[in-house]
């Protein structure tokens, strides 16, 4: 199979839907990154907030279903370089959850948290001072430094840090998708029957617990074009046939 970044012409197995999903997620991530980049120049960030919300919601659901229904039932293997694909996959999901959560906190808290974090780190690094006394001054130092920099610059700094976090999140996501395609999907194909794969794919594309179960497949389809969207439609038909 090609990488998700290439054109996907055929799905050799139901689980190959992952290539389509990864591709759709990356298209959305790159668009979000562009919005975060533009936001550094100022202006309204409603579109960025909506894009971030959708991105994180999709990834959290995706990781949760993979852990429970894709990698969960499989048997792990140990490579010579120490890699264990299933264990590593779960760890990468945890890292994505962590970064996603930090990104949302950063968005909600604004610039204060970044400046405060920096000041607190510096104070903890100072060896010849009473840390307790100085930590009590963090807010004061932050306020004074904020005044020295100027409100406008503090806002610019906030947007800049947000952009950095978005880029970092995208890079982590990209690495994870590549690892999963290279090391986990072969295990899925080896250890699951076509029917089991199809059921796993159904859970990945449809949220049984939502009043709008199609929110994932509709999102993925919305990001794909032409032949790739047709591949997704064909797979949906197979899922419907299996469910009958």
């Amino acid at each position: 199979m090609p990488l998700f970044s290439d054109e996907i012409r055929v799905l050799e197995s139901p689980i190959d839907v992952m290539y389509l999903m990864h591709k759709a997620f990356m298209i959305h991530s790159e668009r979000t990154e562009a919005l975060a980049d533009k936001a550094q120049d100022g202006g309204d960030i409603t579109n960025l907030k909506n894009a971030l919300d959708a991105w994180i919601a999709q990834l959290l659901y995706h990781a949760k279903i993979e852990d429970a229904h894709m990698t969960g039932p499989l048997k792990d293997t140990l490579f010579q370089d120490g890699r264990m694909p299933l264990r590593d996959n779960v760890e990468e999901h945890d890292e994505l959850r962590l970064q996603g959560s930090a990104l949302m906190d950063q968005f909600q808290q604004g610039g204060k948290s970044a400046l405060r974090k920096q000041v607190a780190s510096v104070i903890l690094d100072m060896e010849d001072k009473d840390h307790a006394e100085l930590m009590g001054k963090v807010e004061e130092v932050e306020t004074v430094i904020g005044q020295a920099i100027g409100e406008k610059k503090v806002l610019a700094r906030t947007r800049r840090h947000l952009y950095e976090s978005v880029v970092s999140f995208k890079v982590t996501e990209f690495d994870h998708f590549e690892n999963e395609e290279a090391f986990v999907l072969p295990l899925v194909k080896d250890q699951m029957s076509d029917s089991e794969e199809l059921e796993c794919v159904r859970k990945l594309l449809f949220d049984d617990e939502s009043v709008e179960p199609r929110w994932i497949i509709d999102f993925v389809a919305g990001e794909l074009e032409g032949n790739e969207r047709a591949l997704l439609n064909e797979l949906e038909k197979q899922i419907q046939n299996q469910s009958k």
């Binding site: 970044s5 920096q118 000041v119 780190s121 510096v122 104070i123 690094d125 100072m126 010849d128 001072k129 100085l134 001054k137 004061e140 130092v141 004074v144 430094i145 005044q147 020295a148 920099i149 100027g150 610059k153 700094r157 800049r160 840090h161 952009y163 950095e164 880029v167 970092s168 995208k170 890079v171 990209f174 690495d175 590549e178």
Partner: protein, 209 residues
């Protein structure tokens, strides 16, 4: 780019604009690696960036120290000579904040070179590695702009000593004079990235040598 709090003719501003433009250009050039550009030229650009940043840090330290009055009795910490909101923050905290910022940038620079050294094989730049290099330059740019805004914010608090050091391009001249090649390299490097009045300024400094 920062600059509204300080006169244009401050070498920190000129260097900061050059450092920022250089990083932006290098990041964009990653898209051309393998077509019109080699990864080696990116590496050279980053080495030049690190050299220029080192000069920036030296000058930033000189600017910062000039803002404080040092006492003969070393048990008294240096302090601001004029009334300032920064009086409530002691010298050590402020100095540590600046040192922490500059060493963070050096660490980020080293991380970028580590990626170049360990991940780029046979000059081929695969998408994953390109992503990490882009992340590296993005972090570097963010860290540097934070640092520049901090130093400008702090030194601008003391307008008296600040103005003294900028009469007749004093701070720019000092940077150039302190270099073994009389600033030939750094001035040439800045000229690649400056435009308009900034370029005129640096040209004027060069002509006056």
């Amino acid at each position: 780019m920062n600059g509204q709090n300080m006169p244009l003719i401050c070498v920190l501003n000129l260097l900061a604009k050059s450092l920022d433009s250089s990083l932006t250009a290098s990041t964009e050039s990653l898209n051309d690696v393998g077509r019109t550009k080699s990864i080696n030229s990116f590496e050279v650009e980053m080495r030049n960036w690190a050299t220029a940043f080192f000069l920036y840090t030296n000058s930033a330290n000189v600017h910062f120290e000039r803002c404080f009055i040092k006492h003969d009795n070393q048990s008294h910490a240096p302090e601001f000579p004029t009334k300032s909101s920064l009086l409530s923050v002691d010298y050590a905290v402020t100095k540590n904040l600046l040192d922490y910022s500059s060493s963070s940038i050096m660490n980020l620079t080293q991380e970028l070179f580590d990626v170049l050294q360990h991940e780029v094989e046979k000059s081929v730049l695969i998408p994953r590695v390109k992503n990490h290099l882009t992340l590296g330059t993005t972090k570097l740019r963010g860290g540097f702009l934070d640092y520049h805004e901090l130093i400008v914010g702090l030194i601008s608090q003391n307008q008296h000593t600040f103005s003294d050091y900028h009469l007749n391009n004093a701070c720019t001249t000092r940077l150039v004079d302190d270099e073994v090649d009389n600033g030939k390299w750094v001035v040439g490097w800045m000229k690649c990235y400056l435009q308009g009045k900034d370029l005129e300024t640096i040209n004027a400094v060069q002509k006056s040598r």
